[in-house]
């Protein structure tokens, strides 16, 4: 993967918070262009700190960040904010305007777009997340799922190339999760790069086509989701293997090509049981 095919490349990045907590300690990683990347790591691994670097909220104290091939510095700040959209963990932190409509319009207006363009974008973004009927409501009075969708719309309206979501599943019910999963898949099909921060290994295995594991501010592993079947790697990352993998491993059912997605597991079981079922 050369720098041109990377949505994001990080080289030897350090970040120390005031007060002396070293959140990133020489992190290096790559996110392929137009991938569905899951960024995994235990609590305190530095995931949130990392994504704040992707959109220029934090500039590298030491090390380098490249986004879409460009080196991030103070000069790229404005460009960066239009290219990388961050959806924060808690929508209450993100929604601040008196109405949903105004909140979604906030980003496009900051980009200096013309009024007509802003209106079109806001409408499209709200429709994309099925929140258009909420446009006149006050964000702090919405349900969690509605807030989450409004927050995503606020980022979509800026039409970024890369969309980063911090723990989008937190507190969402299964239907809400599915709904947001569908929205993200739709965006991926349109050529966007999606980076999702999560602790949920099962979800990552199911959804992602690229996986990054970090812990204590450094990279543990990156690669295809099949690396989640490697128990040694996964436990170094402070995580567990996906349930499907454990089923086959602990059951001693497979030696190699251990499945990590539901459909793979089902396929293998079908093959194994195929003979019995017919008879």
């Amino acid at each position: 993967m050369s720098a041109e095919n990377c949505a994001v490349e990080i080289r030897n990045l350090f970040h120390t918070y005031p007060g002396g907590v070293e959140a990133l300690k020489g992190l290096s990683l790559k996110v392929p262009l137009n991938s569905k990347t899951a960024l995994l790591g235990p609590n305190g691994a530095g995931k949130t700190t990392l994504i704040l670097h992707l959109n220029g909220i934090f500039l590298p104290q030491k090390g380098e960040v490249f986004v879409l091939g460009r080196r991030v510095s103070r000069k790229t700040e404005k460009w960066l904010k239009a290219k990388v959209g961050l959806v924060f963990q808690n929508p209450d932190d993100q929604l601040f305007a008196p109405t949903v409509w105004e909140d979604v319009a906030f980003g496009p207006l900051n980009m200096g777009l013309k009024r007509d363009e802003v209106e079109i974008r806001v409408e499209e973004a709200l429709k994309q997340v099925e929140a258009f009927e909420l446009r006149d409501r006050a964000p702090y009075m919405l349900s969690w799922g509605q807030k989450k969708r409004a927050a995503i719309a606020g980022v979509l309206a800026m039409d970024p190339e890369i969309i980063v979501l911090d723990e989008p599943w937190a507190y969402l019910d299964p239907l809400g999760q599915e709904q947001i999963g569908d929205i993200l898949n739709g965006l991926h099909e349109k050529g966007k790069t999606i980076i999702m921060v999560t602790h949920d290994v099962d979800f990552a295995a199911q959804w992602a086509d690229w996986v990054i594991i970090m812990r204590d501010g450094i990279l543990v592993a990156e690669g295809e989701p099949s690396l989640l079947t490697d128990e040694e790697v996964v436990s170094r990352g402070g995580l567990r293997c996906p349930l499907i993998t454990r089923l086959f491993k602990e059951g001693g059912l497979m030696e190699k090509e251990i499945p990590y997605r539901l459909d793979q597991g089902v396929q293998i079981l079908r093959n194994l049981l195929g003979g019995c079922r017919k008879s």
Binding site: G85, F88, F96, P98, L109, N110
Partner: protein, 259 residues
């Protein structure tokens, strides 16, 4: 704004009234009402505002719910003003060496202040209920209010919600672990818990505020909020505005004995 106009057709005229004209007209009315001195005139201008609210189908419940302030403050005025203003003695309270006399002039002043407060709050409540926070800010912007004031007010509003939200969840969390505020406010444990709660509230709203600011930066905020405000006032909007201002003026001149 397109997105707004689609929902604007609902409600009575008071709700549909161009918010800029509404704010200016009611403000003019308020200035006139606050300049009258006789109790009868104040009662009249208060009554007229209540009539306006009634005509605009503002729900009585909502109207009253936003007024508990009035009782607190008003009660305070009525009780203390007679003692603060010297004049013809109404009655006196003596308690040991302390001797306080209530005056008729003080009572009169108290009632006048109470009524002024009532008129002001009623006007504000009518504006608030029939316009909604989002459009009020846009309207004020349309009226060329300095952006700094508006942003500050907007953020205050936002932060009040955050504060009460944080406070409610923290209080619930304490109650869930068996905390029951004692009957007396001066109970040591209750005091202690409550003061911790308030301390935490400051810290939490502070870090919350920081996170909100970060989120705003990430969407390209540079310190300047750009907004799209556009309202279209029709002639009926202006007519209504003139009418309300004229009624306010009429009450004023009536009070001065000019009518």
């Amino acid at each position: 704004m397109r997105a707004y106009s689609s929902t604007e057709s609902s409600g009575t005229f008071l709700y549909r009234w161009d918010p800029r004209v509404k704010i200016v007209a009611l403000f003019v009315y308020l200035v006139f009402s606050l300049s009258v001195e006789r109790i009868m005139s104040l009662l009249l201008s208060w009554g007229l505002i209540l009539l306006l609210a009634l005509w605009g189908r503002i729900s009585l419940g909502e109207f009253v719910r936003r007024m508990p302030w009035l009782l607190w403050f008003g009660g305070f005025l009525l009780i203390f003003y007679p003692f603060l203003v010297p004049g013809k003695e109404m009655f006196a309270v003596s308690c040991g060496p302390v001797y306080a006399a209530a005056s008729f002039e003080g009572l009169y002043k108290g009632i006048v202040l109470l009524l002024r407060l009532a008129v002001s709050l009623s006007v504000l409540t009518v504006i608030m209920i029939s316009t909604g926070p989002g459009k009020i800010f846009m309207a004020l912007e349309g009226l060329r209010m300095p952006a700094v004031f508006l942003r500050t007010a907007e953020f205050t509003l936002r932060y009040i919600y955050i504060c009460t939200d944080e406070l409610r969840t923290m209080f619930t969390a304490r109650k869930a672990r068996g905390f029951k505020p004692a009957k007396s406010f001066f109970n040591a444990f209750t005091m202690n818990t409550l003061s911790h709660l308030i301390g935490m509230l400051f810290l939490r709203t502070y870090s919350r505020g920081e996170r909100i600011y970060t989120a705003m930066l990430s969407r390209g905020y540079t310190g300047e909020i750009i907004s799209l405000s556009s309202f279209k006032a029709r002639s009926s909007d202006y007519l209504m505005g003139i009418l309300i201002s004229a009624v306010g003026a009429a009450v004023f001149f009536l009070d001065k004995g000019a009518l």
